[in-house]
Subunit: 275 residues, 2 copies
């Protein structure tokens, strides 16, 4: 959205200044640049395509997300921040938390996934809508490049009941065994099936009306680029807290209120201008 | 949006019934199937990727469009139909109307582009955001397969003032010379630059807040799969009309009203359920 020309101009200009970006190996733009997130997203998605991580359907899903993020105002709204805090509390209380990773998640936030797994002692498992062994391997390798010590999803020796064969495949000692699962980005069917297995589900989705968001224990209506580091930040912040504090946060979270607030923002946000 | 599983099930079921689709070489689903348009879009986009017509950015743009179309209710709203009629009148009044075609347009509506060009005696010119000779040639060949007799955009012997080199390239006897240009899908910069050249612009865009839509003489806030055949239909309907009738339609079109109506619909649509 907005002006791509302005974004490119900014990139060229700021590349000359150089050195300001946190991730200068990626995009030469400082984090406070208004198009930083958009440029970073675009760069990572393109890299994901080159590496065979991002699928055609993943690219279209990214576009759908961009439209909703634009309507939300491209920022973490207060209710999404409260959801991120509740998600962090769930992860810290969990026996066995798992972060489910698909192609877009791997392309967009590989380092952030590893960071959250470390902050919460969670497993990372690759789980794809259009599963191929090749793509699971490419994604696992990509996550290891970003520091993941173990990546599950290759054993695929258990099944989520109620899903078609390929999409049902999970690791027995991973998602199948998990009590809390973070399911970022869309797959309404799987989100529902995991819920029916009695798992606590944290969903990150930009559409508050999506089935994934509606079946989640904790729906975080936010861009994954902002939400994942935010959950990790809350987890580090809460890491020394007693269980009763964490339980209070979990029980105090108002999921209906969060969905409603995001829906209101979606409607109000539609007044801004863009390309 | 909605359930992809349901869509796939429908496709399988209906493929067994077979033979009902108008375009049975494409998708074996009858036109009145609720997911017909979605399945057709997906099929054409995938085919566009295979043919080297659709770009990575085109796929993301397609996703953005899907989200906005979902919010609009996936139908041609009355103000969009009035815009399509005004667009048809502009095309019939024009000295030299040109349809600008990018990768997504070529992938999604190649036959419809040819049909509109024939109904209005318009030129077809390929014009890409990420221009490469190879992609221009692939798109021109694709359009010729669908019956286009002449496709401009390969000479590229003129420039639109105010745009960077590659994106500024147009044919002198095509877009550069045109008085009315149809610019489907997003490129806010080019839409603005063409407007500054004094051209009448018809823009087809699903985001009523986009810069393209906001600078257009006639913004058609609709899915290109519905809008392009609709403009052609209005053009055939109006083809025998006297110039004063066409001028009345053109002058009676309320562009601000059309943008406002679409924006209202977009926000209302945000309350519907989906995946």
């Amino acid at each position: 959205m907005r002006t791509r020309r302005a974004a490119r101009r900014g990139a060229v200009f700021l590349a000359v200044r150089g050195g300001l970006a946190r991730m200068s190996d990626e995009v030469d733009v400082p984090e406070d640049h208004p198009r930083y997130q958009s440029l970073l997203t675009r760069h990572r998605i393109e890299a994901g395509v080159e590496k065979g991580i991002t699928s055609t359907q993943g690219l279209i899903a990214e576009g759908r997300g961009e439209a909703f993020d634009y309507l939300l105002g491209e920022e973490t709204i207060p209710s999404a921040d409260r959801a991120a805090r509740a998600a962090a509390a769930h992860f810290l209380l969990a026996e066995h938390p798992v972060i489910s990773v698909n192609g877009n998640v791997a392309a967009l936030v590989p380092g952030e996934v590893v960071e959250l797994a470390e902050a919460t002692d969670a497993d990372i498992e690759v789980n794809l809508f259009g599963r191929t062994e090749e793509r699971v391997r490419a994604i696992a390798a990509h996550l290891r490049e970003y520091g993941a010590s173990e990546v599950k999803g290759l054993t695929a020796d258990a099944r989520i009941p109620g899903l078609s064969h390929e999409r049902a495949k999970v690791d027995r000692d991973g998602i199948y065994d998990a009590d809390v699962v973070l399911v970022p980005l869309e797959d309404g069917d799987r989100a529902e099936a995991l819920g029916e297995m009695g798992k606590t589900e944290v969903v990150i989705d930009l559409n508050p009306l999506s089935r994934s968001a509606r079946v989640a224990t904790v729906p975080i209506i936010d861009n994954i680029l902002r939400a994942l580091p935010n959950v990790a930040r809350h987890a580090r912040d809460l890491s020394g807290s007693p269980r009763e504090t964490l339980t209070e946060i979990v029980e105090g979270f108002d999921r209906e209120g969060a969905l409603d607030a995001a829906e209101r923002r979606l409607r109000e946000g539609a007044t801004r201008e863009s390309e």
